[in-house]
C-alpha cells in the first residue's frame, strides 16, 4: 500500500495509532501518517509555518494532498483533475478522517462497512461508483480536481472543484499547422518529464493511436522501452496485429500477455483487491495482467489513457447523432446516460422491490448533469469532452489505471493527463479535433511523423474485452458460483431470476449486440468479487 492518512479532532493522536510501516507526524489535535516512501510512495513534511503536509504523486497533474493547519482545527485536501489519485473522507468518533486510500481509511478509522444504496445504484448505471459517493456508508470521495477546506472548530466545510481547468479558453488558435507542431512539442515535453532519467520503461500498447504515439515518442528519445500487448485469443485478438505492427516499426520486442478465460479467472480476485472501488469494465482484469507482466521489467508503465477524452475520440459521435435525430424532446443528459450501456432504466427488471424503492428516490442523471451543464455556453464538442474528462475519464479510467499499476508497485504515467496540455486543447477549434467523421484529427496529424499511416489513420476499434464469451463460456461456472441465487437472495439487491436470465445469455432488454450482455454480467460479477474481497460479506 502506498498513501497517506490523517485525522483531526479530539485525541486525534491516540485515534490514529502508528500503523505498521507508516511514518507519522503529530500536531495539536491532529496527526498524519504515510507509507510507501521511496518507491512512488507518499511523503510527509512539517512546513516552516507549522502546517503538516502529506502528499502522493506528481502535482498538479497527478496526485493528492492534505494540509493540516498549525492549530489542528482545519485541513485542506486536494486531488488531481484526472482522478488518478483519490481523497476519501469520513466523520467518525467526533473526528474528521481523510486518506488517499479507501481501505486504509476504513480499517484505521474503524468504519463498519455497509453498502450505500445510492452508490450501488450509481455503479449499476455507470460501471464505476460516481463521486462524491463510495460504496461504503459514511465514506465520501473528493471529486477529481476538487479542493476541500474544512474548519472543524466551526463545523464548516467547503468543497470547490477547479472547474477553470477545463474551461474553453480564448482566444482560439487560428493556424492549424502551427497547432500540429505545437502539439508535438508539448507531447515530447510531457513524455520527457515523466520519463526523466529512467532507462527501462514499460508501455501498454493497445494497437490504437494513443498508446502507439506515446511508445513512439519514448523510442525516439532513446529510452529502453518494453512493449506489452494483450492477447484475448482468436477470434478476439483483432488489435494484436496492430500492436505487432507498431512494435516492428519501433524495432522493439513485443511482450504478448495472454488474457484468455483461464488467466482472467486466476486474476479475478487479485484485481478486485487492487481496486479501491469496484470498476466494472471488462478491460480491468486484463490491465492487471499487463501490470503483472510489466513488473518483471520495470517499475514505470506508460499508457495512452485519456487520449480519447482529450482529443475528441469516437465516443462523441453517437452523441452528435443523438442531437440530430433527437427531435424536440431531446435530452442530452439522457442520451449521455445511454452511452454507459449498463443498467440505467432497467431497475425494474433487475432490482428487488426493496432496492427498487430506494433506487427510485435517486436521480442517476444528477451525476452527469453538472459535467454537461457547466459548459452550456460553450461549443458542443467542448461540452462533451469536458463531460468525458470529468466522468468517464476522472471517475473511471484515471483511478483504475493508477490503482491497477500500484498493485505491482508500478507507477502509471499517462502523458495525456497533463493540465497544461489539457488546457491547450480547449483553445483549439472543435473541428480541428473532430473533422467530419474523423475523430482525433489533430492528434493524428501530430502522430504522422512517428507512426505508419495504417496505424494513424485506421478506423477506431479499441480494446474490447470479450466479456460475453468469457461469461457464457470459460468463466460460466465461476460466474454462476459468484452470482449464486442464494447469495443474491441473501444480499437482497437483485432479483435472482433476472440475474440467472442474464447469465443464461438472455437479455430481456434485447440489446442487439451480444457484447452488451457480457458487459452487464461483468459489471455484476466485479461488484460481487469486490465485495467478497473488501468486506467479506459475499459468499463467492
Amino acid at each position: 500500500m502506498q498513501g497517506w492518512i490523517g485525522c483531526i479532532g479530539p485525541d486525534a493522536s491516540s485515534a490514529l495509532e502508528r500503523p505498521t510501516g507508516f511514518d507519522r507526524l503529530e500536531g495539536p489535535h491532529s496527526v498524519v501518517a504515510a507509507t510507501g516512501a521511496g518507491k512512488h510512495g507518499a511523503t510527509l513534511s512539517r512546513m516552516p509555518d507549522g502546517q503538516l503536509r502529506a502528499e502522493i504523486g506528481d502535482f498538479p497533474s497527478s496526485g493528492s494532498s492534505a494540509e493540516i493547519s498549525r492549530d489542528g482545527t482545519g485541513v485542506t485536501l486536494t486531488c488531481d483533475p484526472f482522478g488518478q489519485h483519490s481523497v476519501y473522507t469520513a466523520h467518525q468518533g467526533g473526528r474528521f478522517w481523510f486518506a488517499s486510500d479507501f481501505d486504509t481509511l476504513r480499517l484505521l478509522a474503524r468504519i463498519p462497512l455497509s453498502v450505500r444504496a445510492d452508490a450501488l445504484h450509481g455503479y449499476l448505471c455507470f460501471s464505476y461508483v460516481p463521486t462524491p459517493t463510495t460504496l461504503a456508508e459514511g465514506i465520501d470521495r473528493l471529486p477529481a480536481g476538487g479542493r476541500l477546506a474544512l474548519r472543524l472548530s466551526r463545523n464548516e466545510s467547503d468543497v470547490v472543484r477547479h472547474e477553470h481547468v477545463w474551461d474553453r479558453r480564448q482566444p482560439m488558435l487560428e493556424d492549424p499547422e502551427a497547432a500540429v507542431c505545437s502539439l508535438r512539442e508539448k507531447l515530447q515535453t510531457v513524455v520527457a518529464r515523466l520519463a526523466f532519467e529512467r532507462q527501462d520503461i514499460g508501455v501498454y500498447l493497445s494497437g490504437g493511436l494513443d498508446s502507439s504515439l506515446v511508445a513512439a515518442i519514448l523510442a525516439e528519445m532513446g529510452t529502453r522501452i518494453h512493449l506489452f500487448a494483450l492477447d484475448f485469443g482468436a477470434p478476439h485478438d483483432v488489435e494484436l496485429p496492430f500492436a505487432r505492427r507498431v512494435a516492428d516499426h519501433l524495432n522493439r520486442p513485443l511482450h504478448v500477455v495472454p488474457a484468455g478465460p483461464s488467466e482472467i479467472e486466476r486474476a479475478l480476485f487479485l484485481t478486485a483487491e487492487a481496486m479501491e472501488q469496484p470498476f466494472g469494465d471488462g478491460v480491468t482484469v486484463p490491465l492487471y495482467l499487463m501490470g503483472k507482466a510489466a513488473s518483471d521489467y520495470t517499475d514505470v508503465v506508460f499508457n495512452g489513457e485519456f487520449g480519447d477524452q482529450l482529443f475528441g475520440g469516437w465516443a462523441n459521435k453517437p452523441m452528435i447523432a443523438a442531437e440530430l435525430y433527437g427531435g424536440p424532446d431531446f435530452s442530452r443528459e439522457n442520451a449521455y446516460m445511454a452511452t454507459f450501456h449498463r443498467f440505467h432504466g432497467q431497475a425494474k427488471t433487475l432490482y428487488t422491490p426493496e432496492f427498487l424503492r430506494a433506487a427510485e428516490q435517486i436521480d442517476a442523471v444528477q451525476w452527469v448533469r453538472p459535467a454537461l451543464a457547466v459548459q452550456n455556453k460553450s461549443d458542443l464538442l467542448s461540452a462533451l469532452r469536458i463531460a468525458n474528462l470529468l466522468l468517464k475519464g476522472a471517475q473511471n479510467i484515471g483511478p483504475r489505471a493508477r490503482q491497477l499499476a500500484a498493485a505491482y508497485c508500478l507507477k502509471a504515467c499517462s502523458p495525456f493527463c497533463d493540465v497544461d496540455l489539457a488546457q491547450w486543447t480547449f483553445s483549439c477549434p472543435p473541428d480541428w479535433l473532430l473533422r467530419g467523421a474523423c475523430e482525433k484529427h489533430l492528434l493524428k496529424r501530430a502522430a504522422e511523423p512517428y507512426l505508419p499511416a495504417e496505424i494513424v489513420w485506421r478506423e477506431k476499434r479499441g480494446m474490447g474485452a470479450p466479456t460475453t464469451e468469457w461469461c457464457l463460456g470459460g468463466l460460466k461456472r465461476t460466474v454462476g458460483r459468484i452470482l449464486h441465487p442464494k447469495r443474491l437472495k441473501r444480499d437482497g439487491w437483485f432479483r435472482p431470476e433476472a440475474v440467472l436470465e442474464l447469465c443464461a445469455g438472455r437479455d430481456r432488454t434485447a440489446d442487439f449486440r451480444s457484447r452488451r450482455l457480457g458487459e452487464k454480467i461483468w459489471a455484476l460479477l466485479m461488484l460481487h468479487v469486490w465485495l467478497d474481497v473488501h468486506t467479506g460479506i459475499g459468499g463467492g
Binding site: 440530430l324 435525430y325 424536440p328 452511452t339 430481456r508
Partner: protein
C-alpha cells in the same frame, strides 16, 4: 380464457354473462372472443405477440411488424396431433398383445399423452400470411385498443406523425430541420449512412436508437427524416470514406435500390461505397419467414443487378416479395449490425457491375444468429 389484467380464468359463460364480454373478477373488457372469432384470436395471444415483437416492451415496432408477429403465431399455432387416433389403436393392440396387463396399463397412457400433446406446426420455407393486413388494422388492432388502450411501443404511422409536425408549425413554414439539436452538431459527419426504402422502417430504427449505437445516419427513399434530410446529406458529404448501406424489402424495387442510390440525388461520387445489405430473395427462399404474393410482373429493363441470380429473378417476377417488417425489430437490427460488421471485417465483399458491394449474398445474417458479435468500430468510452 385468462384475463390479461388479473389472470383470472373465465369460461365462455363467465365472460359473456353481461352485454359485453368482460372478466368476471376485474370486469375489464375482453377484446376478442376466440369461440366466435374466425381465427380464434384471444387477448392472451395478442398480448404475447406484443411482448415478443417488442422484446418485452423494450423496443418500438411498426404496426406491420405486429401484424407479421400475429401471423407467425397463427401459422405455427399448436394443433392436436393427428397421431392421437393412431396412438389409440396402438394402445388397444398393446392390450391384446402384451402378456402383462400391468405393463400395458402404464404404457398406454404414456403413449396416448405423447401422441395427443399439442404440436407446434413447423414452418418450412416462406409462408403467406393468414390474416390480411387491412383486416388486422381495421378489426383486430382497433378492438384491442378499444379494450386495452394504446400500445405503448407501437409507433404511429409515419404519415400521421408527419402531419402532426406540420400541424404544430406556423402556416407556410416547412418541416423543421434537426429540431432541438445544437447548431454545431451539423458541422460534423457520420461514419456511415443506412438508407431504407420506407420511412416507417427508418423511424423504427431511430426510435430504437440504432443511429446512436452505430454513429449512423438513417434516411429513407421516401423522405425520412424530412426537414432534416438536407442537413444530414450535407453532413454525409463531409466524409470522404463514407459507407452507404442499402436496406430494403425483397422485392423488385428493393433489389434495384442500391443502384438508385448512385443517382445524382443521392451518392453519385464513385469513391463512396454503396453496400447492399439485403433483404434479397436468397435470404427468403431458404428461410421460414413470411412472404407476400403479388401479381406477376417483369423487372423493368436495365434494373437487374449482375449479382442477382436467375432463381431470385424468377421468384420476384412470379410475384414473390418479402418486407423488412417480417422481422422483429431486434432481429432486424441485429442483422443490420452484423452486416456492418461483416462488411468491416471483409472490407470488400462481392462487387457488382455498378460498384455496389453485396454483403453476404447467403441468408446467414438474416436467418441464423451466430450469437457472437463480429468486432466492428465501436465505442469503448
Amino acid at each position: 380464457m385468462k384475463c390479461i389484467h388479473c389472470s383470472t380464468d373465465n369460461n365462455y359463460k363467465d365472460r359473456n354473462s353481461g352485454s359485453r364480454s368482460k372478466c368476471k373478477q376485474c370486469h375489464h373488457p375482453f377484446a376478442f372472443e376466440p369461440k366466435t372469432d374466425a381465427l380464434q384470436m384471444s387477448d392472451t395471444m395478442f398480448e404475447r405477440a406484443i411482448k415478443d415483437v417488442s422484446a418485452n416492451d423494450t423496443l418500438s415496432f411498426t404496426s406491420k411488424q405486429l401484424w407479421y408477429e400475429l401471423n407467425r403465431r397463427l401459422l405455427t399455432r399448436k394443433t392436436l396431433s393427428c397421431g392421437a387416433p393412431a396412438a389409440v389403436l396402438l394402445g388397444v393392440a398393446l392390450l391384446h398383445c402384451l402378456p402383462h396387463f400391468a405393463v400395458a396399463l402404464i404404457a398406454l397412457p404414456c403413449i396416448l399423452m405423447a401422441a395427443a400433446a399439442p404440436k407446434k406446426r413447423k414452418m418450412t420455407g416462406p409462408q403467406l400470411p393468414k390474416l390480411p393486413y387491412d383486416k388486422f388494422e381495421s378489426t383486430y388492432l382497433q378492438k384491442w385498443v378499444m379494450a386495452h388502450g394504446k400500445i405503448a411501443r407501437l409507433l404511429p404511422a409515419v404519415s400521421s406523425s408527419k402531419a402532426a409536425i406540420a400541424d404544430a408549425l406556423p402556416p407556410g413554414a416547412s418541416f423543421p430541420s434537426a429540431q432541438g439539436a445544437h447548431p454545431e452538431a451539423a458541422s460534423y459527419s457520420f461514419d456511415r449512412a443506412l438508407v431504407v426504402d420506407h420511412a416507417e422502417t427508418a423511424a423504427m430504427l431511430v426510435a430504437n436508437h440504432f443511429h446512436f449505437e452505430n454513429n449512423c445516419a438513417i434516411l429513407s427513399l421516401d423522405g425520412y427524416p424530412y426537414g432534416a434530410t438536407p442537413t444530414i446529406m450535407t453532413m454525409l458529404a463531409r466524409n470522404p470514406s463514407l459507407q452507404v448501406f442499402a436496406l430494403h424489402d425483397a422485392c423488385i424495387e428493393g433489389c434495384s435500390m442500391a443502384r438508385q442510390l448512385r443517382s445524382a440525388d443521392w451518392f453519385p461520387n464513385p469513391f463512396i461505397r454503396i453496400i447492399d445489405l439485403g433483404m434479397r430473395p436468397a435470404h427468403i427462399l431458404k428461410s421460414n419467414l413470411i412472404a407476400l404474393r403479388n401479381a406477376p410482373r417483369r423487372f423493368p429493363v436495365g434494373t437487374t443487378s449482375a449479382s442477382i441470380t436467375a432463381e431470385e429473378i424468377a421468384w420476384l417476377e412470379a410475384g414473390g416479395a418479402a418486407e423488412l417488417d417480417t422481422l422483429r425489430p431486434h432481429k432486424l437490427m441485429r442483422a443490420v449490425y452484423q452486416g456492418f460488421a461483416k462488411y468491416g471485417q471483409a472490407a470488400q465483399g462481392e462487387i457488382d457491375d455498378d460498384g455496389v458491394v453485396i454483403v453476404d449474398s447467403g441468408p446467414s445474417i438474416w436467418v441464423y444468429d451466430s450469437g457472437a458479435d463480429v468486432y466492428a468500430a465501436d465505442s469503448f468510452g
